[in-house]
């Protein structure tokens, strides 16, 4: 008989081993899925996980890795802080969009003036845009006790509609021959977030992601604010006893994750994407939730998880091109990763015991 025995303390070994097992299980289950689609599973796995780093065209892909991983890590770092406190911001996608719109609007309003102050201003406004969008669920939760999960999620769809309106309306490029979408910020020197080192994909957003990893690590491990966040997540009553005001906690956590998501949106619109279009958002805000959990809500884990997740994006793209896999197959593949992670997670808190039938 198989028995589950609760561990007295969570296993540190398993808390780091489960993500690795989840990745392996995803590869196996993904292989089965690809085989069912009539593709050679080994080819597909190699195309997704191997070729982007070490394959023949790796030179191009490697740069893409940081481009994709940057926003994921930046957003996930903020989300993880809230998740540790038991505050569930599911709407980073919306905050990402709002950060991009706010930051891009500053640039487009200033066009064509050139100034070294423009880009820093955009960064600040972009962060504020995401922050403000996250304040809506925060205030509603504090004031009326609404669920931040539902409100933040629903605001994603509001933000998407706002994005479409901006792309077709106020932010549309007046010299764009009627095509939807804003001016391309890549062609506006003061507003452009360029590749800092050629062919690496390193831009200011990636720098910000690394800073976020370090800063959230210091916050959570060394600062009293992070300590309070951890207590709030582990035992809300104990947190109150320790003097943590739950409403301030909600404002801080949603604010931080919203601001970081907003920054990610700003760096994306001023860099790799270049313009506001109605299809500007690529799901980073949602995927970052997976990244946060895959990384065990730990900054270093998130760094690694962000890189792996970016790999599945790039590998997925190239598998679509070279093997003709449908885009949905890649999304299923990413979802399986979270599914297996949560499934294997019980090993952290439970021990599996094999036992003969009892007398």
């Amino acid at each position: 008989m198989i028995m589950l025995v609760k561990r007295p303390t969570p296993s540190i070994f398993w808390s780091w081993a489960t993500p690795v097992i989840a990745v392996l299980a995803t590869m196996i289950a993904g292989g089965v899925l690809f085989a069912a689609l009539g593709k050679n599973p080994l080819d597909a796995i190699r195309t997704i996980f191997w070729d982007p780093i070490l394959g023949p065209n790796a030179g191009y892909f490697r740069g893409q890795l940081l481009v994709k991983a940057g926003p994921l890590i930046l957003i996930a770092s903020g989300l993880a802080v809230g998740f540790r406190a038991g505050i569930w911001n599911i709407g980073a996608e919306g905050q990402y969009i709002m950060g991009a719109i706010a930051g891009a609007a500053v640039a487009l309003a200033a066009y064509p003036a050139e100034s070294v102050l423009l880009f820093p201003t955009m960064v600040i406004v972009g962060g504020l845009g995401g922050w403000a969008w996250a304040m809506i669920p925060a205030l509603l939760k504090n004031r009326f006790g609404t669920s931040e999960i539902l409100v933040s999620l629903m605001l994603v769809y509001v933000a998407q509609n706002l994005l479409a309106y901006m792309a077709f309306g106020p932010l549309k490029n007046p010299q764009g021959f009627g095509f939807p979408g804003s001016r391309n910020l890549q062609q506006y020197a003061s507003a452009h977030n360029p590749e800092l080192i050629a062919r690496t994909g390193m831009h200011w957003g990636v720098v910000a992601a690394f800073i976020a990893v370090i800063a959230t690590y210091v916050l959570m491990a060394r600062h009293i604010a992070g300590f309070r966040i951890r207590v709030a997540g582990d035992a809300p009553k104990a947190a109150r006893f320790a003097g943590v005001a739950p409403t301030k906690m909600v404002v801080f956590c949603l604010g931080l994750s919203g601001a970081l998501a907003g920054l990610a949106g700003l760096f994306e619109v001023s860099g790799p994407s270049g313009q506001i279009t109605d299809s500007f958002n690529a799901g980073y805000g949602f995927t970052a939730i997976i990244v946060a959990f895959l990384g065990r809500l730990h900054p270093v884990g998130i760094l690694l998880a962000g890189l792996i997740m970016a790999l599945t994006y790039i590998g997925g793209d190239s598998a679509q091109l070279s093997l003709g896999l449908p885009a949905a197959a890649i999304q299923v593949f990413q979802a399986m990763l979270l599914f297996f992670l949560l499934g294997f997670d019980f090993l952290t808190n439970y021990r599996v015991k094999l036992k003969g039938t009892r007398a």
Partner: protein
């Protein structure tokens, strides 16, 4: 009708063994209970009493050993089988639905409940017969703890049990309610029902029980006739070492440290109590004992003093300063510290280490932060200091709080506040679920603290404890606090009356 079956062995237990990972909860336990006997199972927390009765009641399967009931082998695979064999149990924690009435609650525990009207009549009949008046139509949420216990007991009596197991039945009762309960138990035993009575309250056992089996570390260490022993002798058998008595010499009341004036607090939940016009003043070097059955506003009073729930201006005054609106940390900074009742989840964060839990309340007074950054070395030293000063048994300060036993965690929680040198310390149920040795150590720490000039408020259900440590005593009943009176002049009887007596009941005479 029940018959008195004389001295026949009703239940015989031999070599019962049960191991859990890391502990041998029961090690070859054996004893026998005769029909009509009141048999005490005596032992500290963790001695294995609960595991033993859970095996008898079919909740836990023994690893080895055998049981016989009325001469036939008895191995209940589940509580239902135990009940149909005539074994009933009243648990320490009630399993009642507050929103349902008494009859509905009783029906939920039955295999084939009769129609509600018949059942209500049966409940009235049984409750009259055994002196436990209970209205079947009342909502359980409105009942006192003692009345709730009666629901559980009547639920058992409706099954006509041969053996009734009672787990710590008096922990929630006033002295008058205890008398009523004992009347009922004596009547049951005179009719031939055997009672297995679990407790660590020694005077009770001396007064009620015919035999006692004493457990320590999962083994039977002694059997005796409790009437023939003093409470102190029983305690030493239970603990296995000589017990120190607390020493309360050399205390003098000084200036007023804390004043509470007209404190009102609305309830937080539907069945929660309201604090009504609470007022008292507390002097330096004084221990104020606040007695009363849990659920009468104890938790709310602690929250109002710790700062978790702010109150109206002017209601809480610490050393002349109105702190009614201050949060927990501002109160801590001024020397008002607290230790709530619920250890895991309120006084301590379960999954966090003892170091983190030391930071939880000690950050400010122990200067465990520098410019907002945690000073982990100082935190570790503080946790270590608590562990050594209060003899907390743990592999080290890195262990998660939930890995500690209840008694050890309680020592840590109390120690954490005591070592911060409070001006006023408020503790709720300081020794609840703590073994006798640890309880003595905790009480002594509170007395030492008062001797050093701190004011202490001890909220407790354990009246013996309050008599032992308090200078003044007040009762908290239904959200109202009685006028504090000097504890030395009080008898347990008077304290019981202060606690609201037996909620409008008179004890029935035991039919012997």
């Amino acid at each position: 009708m029940r018959r008195v079956t004389g001295n026949d062995k009703l239940l015989t237990i031999e070599g019962l063994t049960k191991a859990y990972p890391g502990v041998l909860a029961n090690d070859r336990v054996g004893f026998a209970v005769a029909a009509g006997e009141v048999h005490a199972l005596l032992g500290e927390n963790g001695a294995g009493k609960s595991t033993l009765v859970k095996m008898i009641y079919g909740l836990v399967k023994p690893d080895a050993g055998s049981m016989e009931l009325l001469g036939a082998p008895y191995a209940p695979p589940e509580p239902r089988a135990a009940r149909s064999a005539g074994v009933a149990m009243v648990f320490q924690h009630f399993s009642l639905f507050e929103a349902l009435n008494v009859a509905e609650n009783v029906a939920l525990g039955m295999e084939n409940p009769p129609p509600m009207r018949t059942l209500a009549a049966r409940i009235r009949e049984v409750s009259d017969a055994y002196g436990l008046p209970l209205d079947p139509d009342r909502t359980v949420g409105d009942l006192s703890a003692g009345e709730r216990q009666r629901v559980e007991i009547i639920r058992c009596l409706l099954q006509d049990p041969k053996l009734l197991i009672m787990d710590e039945p008096t922990s929630v009762l006033t002295p008058q309610e205890v008398d009523i309960l004992f009347g009922t138990l004596r009547k049951l035993s005179s009719e031939g029902t055997a009672i297995l009575y679990i407790s660590h309250k020694l005077e009770e056992i001396r007064g009620l029980c015919d035999h006692a089996t004493i457990l320590r570390g999962g083994r039977v260490v002694a059997t005796c006739i409790p009437r023939d022993k003093t409470a102190h002798e029983l305690a030493e058998m239970m603990v296995g070492t000589e017990l120190k008595l607390t020493d309360r010499a050399g205390r003098q009341a000084g200036d007023v440290a804390l004043e509470v004036v007209g404190l009102n607090l609305p309830p937080t939940s539907a069945f929660g109590p309201t604090l009504k016009n609470i007022g008292f003043s507390l002097r330096k070097g004084e221990v104020l004992g606040i007695g009363g059955v849990a659920g009468n506003g104890q938790e709310e009073l602690l929250a109002a003093l710790s700062g978790e729930r702010p109150s109206t201006p002017g209601s809480v005054i610490l050393a002349g300063e109105d702190i009614s609106g201050f949060g927990p940390n501002r109160r801590r900074a001024r020397g008002l510290l607290a230790a709530p009742e619920e250890r895991l989840g309120h006084a301590a964060a379960p999954d966090m280490s003892l170091i983190d839990n030391a930071i939880l309340t000690g950050a400010k007074r122990k200067k465990l932060t520098r410019n907002g950054f945690l000073n982990m070395r100082a935190a570790r030293d503080f946790a270590q200091a608590i562990i050594s000063a209060f003899d907390v048994r743990t592999p080290g300060p890195h262990v998660a709080a939930r890995a500690l036993s209840g008694g050890n965690l309680q020592k840590f929680v109390i120690g954490r506040e005591v070592l911060q040198d409070p001006a006023v310390l408020v503790v709720n149920q300081p020794t609840w679920g703590v073994d006798a040795a640890a309880a003595t150590a905790i009480r002594q720490a509170l007395l030492d603290l008062a001797a050093k000039g701190a004011a202490v408020i001890a909220i407790s259900q354990d009246l013996d404890e309050l008599v032992e440590i308090s200078d003044r005593f007040a009762a908290l009943n239904e959200g109202r606090l009685s006028e504090p009176v000097a504890a030395a002049s009080l008898t347990l009887e008077q304290i019981g009356l202060m606690l609201g007596g037996a909620h409008g009941m008179k004890p029935v005479e035991a039919v012997l």
